[in-house]
Amino acid sequence: MRIAVNVNGSKYVQEVEPRLLLVDFLRDNLGLTGTKRGCDAGECGVCTVLLNGKTVRSCSVLAVEAHEGEVTTIEGIAQDGKLSILQETFWEHHAVQNGFSTPGTIMSVSELLRKNPNPSEKEVRRWLDGTLSRETGYQNIVRATLAAAERIRSTGDAASVAQPSQMLPADLIGASIKAREAPELLTGQAKFIADISLPNMLHVAILRSEQGHAFIRRLDVSQAEKMPGVVKVFTAKDVQVMPLPVVWVPPGVESHFLPHPSGMVPGSQTVMAEERVRYVGEQLAAVVAETRQQAYDALHAIVVEYEPLDVVTDAEEAVKEGAPQLHETAPNNILAASAFGDKEATLKALEEAEVVVEQRLYNQRMMQSPLEVRGAVASYDPAQEEYTLWTNTQIPYPHRLLISQYILGIPFNKLRVIVPVMGESLGCKGNVYADSPLMCVIAKALRRPVKWVDTREGYSRDTAQSRDQVQYVRIAGTKDGKVTALYCSAYSNVGAYPVINAPGQPLPLIGRSITGAYLIDHPYYEVKIVYTNKVPASPMRGSGRAEAIFLVERMIDLYARKIGMDPAEVRRKNMVPPERFPFQNGLGWVYDSGNYAAALDKALQNAGYDSAAEKKVEARKRGKLFGVGIGSYVAVAGVGRSRKMGDEGLVSGTWGSACMSVAPSGEVTVTTGSQPHGQSHETTFSQITAQELGIPLEYISVRHSDSKGALYYGQASYGSRSLSVEGIAIQKAAQKIITKIKTFAAAAFQASEEMIVYEKGTVYLKTAPDQARMTLQQAAFALWLGWDLPEGMEPGLETFAYFDPPNFNFPFGTHIAMVEVDEQTGVVDLVKYVAVDDFGTVVNPLVVEAQTHGNICLGVGQALYEEAVYDDRGRVLTDGFSTYAIPRASFLPDFELSRTVTPSPSNPIGAKGAGDVSNPPVAPAIVNAVCDALADSGIKHIEMPLKPEKIWRALQQSRV
């Protein structure tokens, strides 16, 4: 039917189907892609727009309902290129990281401020409950909203703050520069994967296995192929490529991967399932149609007949005799079994110990749940025989290598990978998935560009999940609080197939990290990595260290309680003392630097730890049980020294790389080997460049996200490595640029190089600084035009630089949670959260603080709300935000952050990783706090997530 809608002041008249949703009308029909699709189910709020002046979730409104109405989207907020007050304050307070949920959030709070020009923090948080934010958390959004309210009240004018770019270069390391990436995210101009559209493009919908374990007896696509708009339905017979590869093969470990025809690496799942499926979510068929709607409509016409097999989803069950066997090559479903540490010595220490505490812990299966799901667009150029793949991956260069070499079997140079602006990942976008090569195959077969973007329900079944480790732990020590041994026997559930780096998390990342911040003479860790009929598991923000730190921090608390000592005191007594660095932790890490007890003491002081007893008494009067919990941590970051990673089994180096070019006009372009997805690389890497070269930030642009850029190959962003590894490569590149300028200047000024000084973007002769000088721009101009260069000097001013750190870096800190438990209902209220982190030298505090908010937010989710729940047929029940609970704004208090600064000796800036390292202490701090609150009832441990009913049941049982 015909509708007329006024959108952002322009009238649109269109013929639409009644079933068309407003969000699809705006995005697909009008091309207004600033409004995002997050869940398509009215749960996440990222599609929020104004309809007749009121916020609505545009995925829950029919386009026909907007007939004769007025719609305002994010594109209609900025006027004449000038940001609104809200957009300004979001920018100033760094309320935008990856920016995917930013447009919906801004639309939502714009209505709040119109209705209530002076909201309280609590009112803002309550309002924001309608809009999820995952990696950014809510704290800066709340601040930005309150600041906007104040500015509107006081001036009613969008006065913008002074640009900090005028700051002296000497201030740039450690300066809270506003994110340079933010404006396009704040205005909805940024193009994410779902916003990419190519001429003549087809759309793909993927049919996935409904069974957790079954033989496929029949797959009939004939009816689907007759549906309107359908071009072709692809099944396994149409997709003859190699299986997905695995690039982490632990040496000297008995491992049972799947075969791979390349003979170079082991294999994983096939791109399309053919005879048998092993988890709910495996790809069976792909419908290609003229429109997305037609592709999804035709999915329902495909007929699949299964012969169900027994399903196993529990890792401990899967290794038992008689369990269903997933792979012929993996007896008892074991992918690998390995150990770190001296087992006999640890057992002996346990035997001889005065005190031993035992506990089984389950670090539950989590879903990364980025608000932006995955997608892929592919095109094929028959003249060049070249594929281009657009996808939201953390690892574009490895993507190019693995898909070209190990899946499609084509030359490296025949695949270009481009990453559009990318929503958050939390680790799940650091894998190679079967859908990306599938899009390449389809694009070539049909000679047309194709696009697939996942749905929220699809995400829960086709994208790797994380954690999922059972740990049997024993801690031993003296009666006066000295820990002597820590023993862990674990089962890691990696799901039906290994992801590209499957052994990395359960082996070194957890196994070598379990000593945490402590000097423990006898640590030991053994693990069985187990296949089950669950969705494959991959790293997740906090990866590996989260499981390790949870383990040691819970055990320290249980031990402290057993010997009747203050858990803070036990920690202080066992922490690695500052004089012991570099410190070998006994499991393979060499901690670089730190003062762990200082961070602990600072956190205790900031939290008012000493007043806990009074708080307990006061809370008791209100019927609440108060508890305080500590989470101290050390997390391996800055991945890493290539040789060390190679020794762990990674089939790749992990160095950083950069290309830096100074244009004849003086502008500097930096290409990084990293891949941003919310970390503000363009800002922090510009700061490093500007600092080194002594030039204004405006002269610098940072490039990434395209494998056809200046770098031929590179690494990526993961494991809190980008700034302290890739950033250092940039610093080195700048230094190489300066060296060349100095050589050039020495020749030009006919002086020796020792007499040449480079300073603040200018090179000059020490003895004649006013006469013999040239700017960076003048030098670049002369070098590029290059008609009178000194003998032997190459023209141009650009360079490549690489950095392979001598060691990882090890950020650390202590977080403290204070909770109140309602003893009648079991509801946990997180009343105070204090964090003291040490990320070494911090380049941009604003960025790092916001990353810490995200880490805490995720940790609160794991402790209290989140778990991927499966039924006994292997089906994920938590397939949307109405069943998988990620924290909303009002669930959280204002986090109180501070830092200590211990520079790392692992790199010249002294930076330590920050992106995901402050997640690991969060969940144990909260669980320790809840267990402290419940201690008088004799409750020792409750498994995460600490849902109210679980706590209530534990309290019931304790009373029996």
Partner: protein, 291 residues
């Protein structure tokens, strides 16, 4: 994205809507949040969607001074109810509960009539409807009107009083008794925001701390929203204290059917209802919470 195709009509008077709804697989759309979610999941076969939001008379909110009631049109949204000064004045409980339903974007769409018709009975709005003595006005396919008390709307088998072709046109809400104090206590699922257990009370207390009369509504915990009539009877005349409330609760709880789902077990809901009954009554009476 919605896979099923359907027709759409947006009549401007209620009789035309009734005629359209009498045909085939027609469904009314008012707020839309429930119906659109069902359509996306292919759970509902619909040939025609009849949008009621363009019928002006259905969205009116009127004060009927003589009857001492408010007449709230079926398509009035929760935001409109929350912000309407007449409702704030005469039925503050309804305004307050409307203001804490789900999230702002949902309140801007969700309508009172739609919520009732969609059996969306876990919401706190039902506590207000049950406590206020609300009368639901329904027009049938033959255009004749009837009213059903909110307390009678659901039958024991879980079906509602609505028949094929019925349209809820409005809800009549008596002015709130200014002598009664009210309180509402709830616990929600953190993911869906749905109420796991909500208990609302309206109570009048005599000087000596004795309950004169009280009304109790339970939502989310029991299979259907309901008044606890027996408990109301037993509590009348008793001094307000935790022991009395617990004793009454223990006497009536056995006859109730509690819901069990992904969010919580029946046992936990049973427990919460007792706790919240106590808290709501204590809160309403202790603070002499006239609203």
């Amino acid at each position: 994205m919605i896979s099923a195709q359907f027709e759409y009509a947006a009549p401007t008077d209620v009789h035309a809507a009734a005629a359209l709804l009498a045909s085939g697989n027609a469904q009314a759309l008012s707020g839309g949040s429930s119906l659109i979610a069902e359509l996306k999941k292919r759970r509902t076969a619909v040939s025609l969607v009849v949008d009621l939001k363009r019928i002006p008379t259905l969205s009116e909110i009127k004060v009927q001074t003589e009857e001492r009631t408010l007449r709230i049109g079926a398509t009035a949204t929760f935001s409109e109810i929350f912000e309407n000064q007449d409702i704030v004045k005469y039925c503050p409980l309804l305004a307050q509960t409307a203001g804490c339903v789900a999230y702002p974007q949902v309140r801007n769409r969700k309508s009172l009539g739609g919520c009732i018709a969609a059996n969306d009975y876990s919401g706190e709005i039902w506590a207000a409807l049950l406590l206020s003595g609300a009368l639901i006005r329904i027009m049938n396919a033959e255009k004749s009107m009837r009213t059903v008390a909110a307390t009678e709307f659901f039958r024991r088998d879980g079906r509602s009083a609505l028949m094929k072709g019925d349209i809820i046109t409005a809800v009549d809400i008596p002015f709130q008794d200014s002598q009664a104090s009210t309180a509402y206590i709830k616990q929600s699922d953190p993911a869906s925001g749905k109420t796991i257990c909500g208990v609302g009370v309206a109570a009048t207390v005599k000087q000596a701390g004795v309950i004169d009369r009280c009304e109790i509504a339970v939502v989310g915990a029991t299979a259907l929203p309901m008044r606890l009539g027996k408990a109301e009877e037993k509590l009348a005349g008793l001094p307000v204290n935790k022991e009395n409330i617990a004793a009454v609760w223990n006497a009536v709880r056995g006859s109730l059917q509690f819901a069990e789902d992904f969010s919580a077990t029946a046992e936990y809901r049973d427990h919460l209802t007792g706790i919240f009954l106590q808290r709501a009554l204590m809160k309403a009476t202790e603070e002499n919470n006239h609203i």
